[in-house]
């Protein structure tokens, strides 16, 4: 979860033929990014802007937390399934998602980095972020080396891709992280990057994106 100030956020309406979903998203949040990516993959159309991070409103139902939102979407809207049927492949996808959402993103979110910077020192901030990002990517490289095809766990795009692509992008853009030690992850990222669903989910294409 991102703890972003409310006034900086905006949201989008996503619709399918039968339901209207509202996604509250922050353009820079990698957690929000995962959900935008997944909604695009499931062919929901974005209509119009709104607020938060990420929170999905589906009729009466409100779901927050990107992983919970994605699992909810997977169950309710099974088109373009993001979790494979094969038990082992499914487990690998969930494990990859967990590595990103539990071992990586929480350690480099803004509130933690601010704490490190203030209490330990400004020079520690970057090395702390790089350490945890590196550790997570090393784990993912090992995990996916034998499973990756065109995408993270084969030739179809799955949950692992949805978590991985924004994480790699944020690591490179925000932390200038050097991905050259992780060839499998780089290859997966290049494949994800060109997808229209990914392109449409880019932070800079969101209604709340700003130059600063």
């Amino acid at each position: 979860m991102d703890s972003r100030p409310h006034q900086d956020t905006s949201g989008s309406f996503f619709s399918s033929s039968s339901d209207k979903l509202q996604l509250y998203s922050y353009w820079q949040s990698s957690c929000s990014w995962r959900v935008r990516f997944a909604l695009n993959l499931k062919k929901f159309e974005r209509l119009n802007p709104l607020h938060f991070v990420p929170v999905l409103v589906d009729g009466d139902l409100v779901v927050s937390d990107s992983f919970a939102i994605l699992l909810y979407l997977e169950e309710k809207y099974p088109q373009n399934a993001l979790l494979p049927v094969d038990a082992k492949c499914r487990a690998v996808n969930l494990q990859a998602a967990s590595i990103v959402t539990s071992s990586m993103q929480p350690l480099h979110m803004l509130s933690v980095l601010k704490y490190i910077e203030e209490k330990v020192g400004p020079e520690e901030r970057q090395s702390w972020a790089e350490y945890h990002i590196g550790k997570g990517f090393a784990a993912l490289e090992k995990l996916l080396k034998d499973f990756a095809g065109r995408y993270a766990t084969g030739d179809e795009i799955c949950m692992a891709d949805v978590f991985l692509a924004p994480q790699i992008s944020v690591a490179v853009m925000r932390f200038k992280f050097d991905m050259s030690k992780f060839p499998t992850l780089c290859r997966i990222y290049e494949a994800n990057k060109v997808l229209p669903a990914f392109q449409a989910s880019l932070p800079e294409r969101q209604p709340d994106a700003s130059i600063d």
């Binding site: 779901v63 937390d65 699992l71 038990a87 494990q95 539990s102 071992s103 209490k119 995990l143």
Partner: protein
């Protein structure tokens, strides 16, 4: 439900194996789920403090060197959430998720608040760093702050939904994640749970105390 490898004959050997560290809350989640489903398993201890997760045998099993790891014949699964979802699909007795989609989503949210917003910020690696750089008092203050914030979020999430347990009157995924975290909060970080009355009722505390092997 857990059997030491030395206690079993070949005929009795349970087919499930769980690689676990006794103090790891992630390993604990897996143990609870196996017990709830009445599944016997062989307990394989991995001492994290002694670095046994880096042994050649364990590294071959899980190159990422994390616990818990579940072995079900030829299937090897690491990560507590992935393990729980696998168990729930293959062994549907005592389901870990309710049928109702809204309640299911709440269980996912609760599980993730624990596994992403609380546990990673108070695990050994982070706490050792803070203690080394800022001292022991700061370490405890940090842990209490992170856990407290997470518990407050959980309190809001579960308000009006909890019954005897986190999301009603049955034990589900949220409880499996919550129990070890609350236990750690009380025993290791001395948090006063009176602040979070929705999450911890007398009955659920009983269950937490019994949710051991």
């Amino acid at each position: 439900m857990a059997a030491n490898s030395s206690d079993c004959t070949d005929k009795e050997q349970p087919k499930l194996k769980l690689y676990s560290y006794w103090r790891s809350s992630c390993s604990w989640r897996a143990r609870i789920a196996l017990n709830l489903k009445g599944l016997s398993y062989e307990y394989k201890a991995v001492n994290l403090l002694k670095g046994e997760q880096f042994s050649p045998e364990f590294s071959k099993l899980n190159p990422i060197n994390y616990v818990p790891v579940l072995v079900d014949e030829d299937i090897v699964i690491a990560d507590s959430f992935a393990i729980l979802m696998y168990l729930d699909e293959k062994y549907p007795q005592h389901p870990l998720l309710p049928c109702d989609l809204q309640k299911k989503a709440i269980n996912f949210q609760a599980a993730n608040i624990v596994s992403s917003s609380i546990q990673p910020l108070q695990n050994l690696l982070v706490l050792n760093y803070i203690e080394e750089k800022l001292g022991s008092d700061e370490k405890i203050a940090w842990a209490q702050n992170q856990i407290g914030r997470g518990f407050s979020a959980l309190e809001k999430l579960l308000e009006g939904i909890s019954g005897r347990y986190a999301t009603g009157d049955e034990i589900y995924l949220a409880d499996v994640f919550l129990a070890p975290q609350i236990h750690a909060a009380i025993t290791r970080f001395k948090l006063d749970m009176l602040n979070w009355t929705v999450m911890v009722s007398e009955k659920s505390l009983d269950w937490f105390n019994r949710a051991e092997d």
